[in-house]
Amino acid sequence: MNTKLEKVIQAARSEFACAVEEFRGEAHLIVDPERIVAVITWLRDVQDFPLLSAMTAVDYWPKMDPRFHVIYQLTSLSKNLSVQVRAPVPGARPVMSTVSGVFANANWREREIWDMFGIHFDGHPDPRRILMPQDWEGHPLRKDYPLGYEEPQFTFNFEEIDLRKPYAKE
């Protein structure tokens, strides 16, 4: 890790007492979900990370508890640094506070996380599904949601699949 990133990590550790993981030269801050708005605002204003490059989530069911990790990737232009903030969210009641007041693109990204994972964001101005149809049930990127794989039609099973394939009428 280079020295500038070290300084940011030390400041974060002393300010918020969060755990830090290092992997392949990247720094990951593990933060409690309740403090996430404070951490993100601090990183943007005090440490000058004005760009939220990416925001996504991972589902660790059934291996780990808490089940979800919400991941924020922040970029600093002046210092040319990137830092990753991870917030573990329990699966029983997946609720986080919204950071759409801090970064405007978090609005759509949080809608996407709600759509795909079912993590609800408190205080979000527009909590609707964004990628799936509005009446879709289920959250597709969860590990217990099936892929929806359909058996491909080869020559040996052509007729039997043909019978149950829903062809369109005129």
């Binding site: 990951h28 760009l51 490059s53 990416a54 990737q73 990137s82 990753q84 527009d126 949601y145």
Partner: protein, 409 residues
Amino acid sequence: MPQLQEVTVDELKHLVSNRAIEGETVLLNMGPQHPATHGVLRLLVELDGETVVNCVPDIGFLHTGVEKNMEAKTYQKAEVMTDRLDYLNTVGNNLAYCMAVEKLVDLDVPPRAQAIRVILTELQRLASHLVWIGTHALDLAAMSMFMYAFREREIILDILELVSGQRMMTTYFRPGGVWRDVPVEFEGAVRDFIKLFPKRIDEYEALLTKNPLLMDRLLGIGVLTKENALSYGVTGPMLRASGVDWDLRKVRPYMGYEQYDFEVPVRTEGDNYARYLVRVQEMREALKIVEQALDKLPMGPVRSDNRKFVPPPRSEIGTSMEALIHHFKLWTEGFEAPRGGIYSAVEGPRGELGVYLEGDGGPKPYRVHMRTPSFENVSVLPVLAKGHLVADLIAIIGSIDFVLGDIDR
């Protein structure tokens, strides 16, 4: 057969202003099938006469479930799906994914492969900008531009076909390098293109840049301020046209970009015209990079020789037992990646194309998230379109240059 959902006014109440509910303004649906939305984007536009009061984008009509599908395939096989995301920058998507895999498993890329990757990525950037300029001008009623742009694009697609056998979805880049070495005709074809193209860009500029009709339609329209750009996470030519000098090829060089001498065009106005000028200048700079990379193309292997991740060449399999075992393992099981998540980004023609890749010790990626630039770029459309006319909305859509495959994944 699922039925079309009828949307009630209650569901729209929080999206549109009170004037729409009372009937003072008109709610217009620019539906998913529309000649000027550059794909299946649905826009709910609130109009006061001809002026746009608000515009709500509705995406998801091309949602392909790529991220979930990639979790079910091995790392090598999942790369095939990355081509089809931003289908105008297919080689760039491959590059982003391969770089993420190489970062995750700590794999080296030999210099010749890096140079070949740079050449093809910059040619793909040119092809993407050509489609942009062709369709943007087509929307602004300069129809012949479309034909010229696609004529040049055919030459670039011929080069891609020469190298990989496929015009668009090449999957030519693989983790560790490229699939195989370029044929002997490659250098001649690229040099012919380098000789031909600068005059063509001059032709396009002569047709469009100082054209009073184009300037009328683009100047001062869709202004994106620097604060809005950073707050909305906009990257790429849109960000550089708003005054922020941030290009990942310069600030975090990868694949040997630090060896090449090129400039990054930055403008401060932030309107459609600034974005147009930035992209046209980027086309010239991309051509410069291609020429330098071709001149400096080093000799050597085109793929890493770490046999745990890269299959051995066919000739070795007949003579070496280890080669046979490596080949067998790679084809039946795939290679194993360590536990942990990384984020790796490249500069695509639309902005920062990032991949969050997490491995779990097995041969299949545990989580792949593609941070696609068009998602953020389109979310800023309501801000840009406020107060302009419907025709300006079309010009702004063309100027943002998004691709629906990128947005919906």
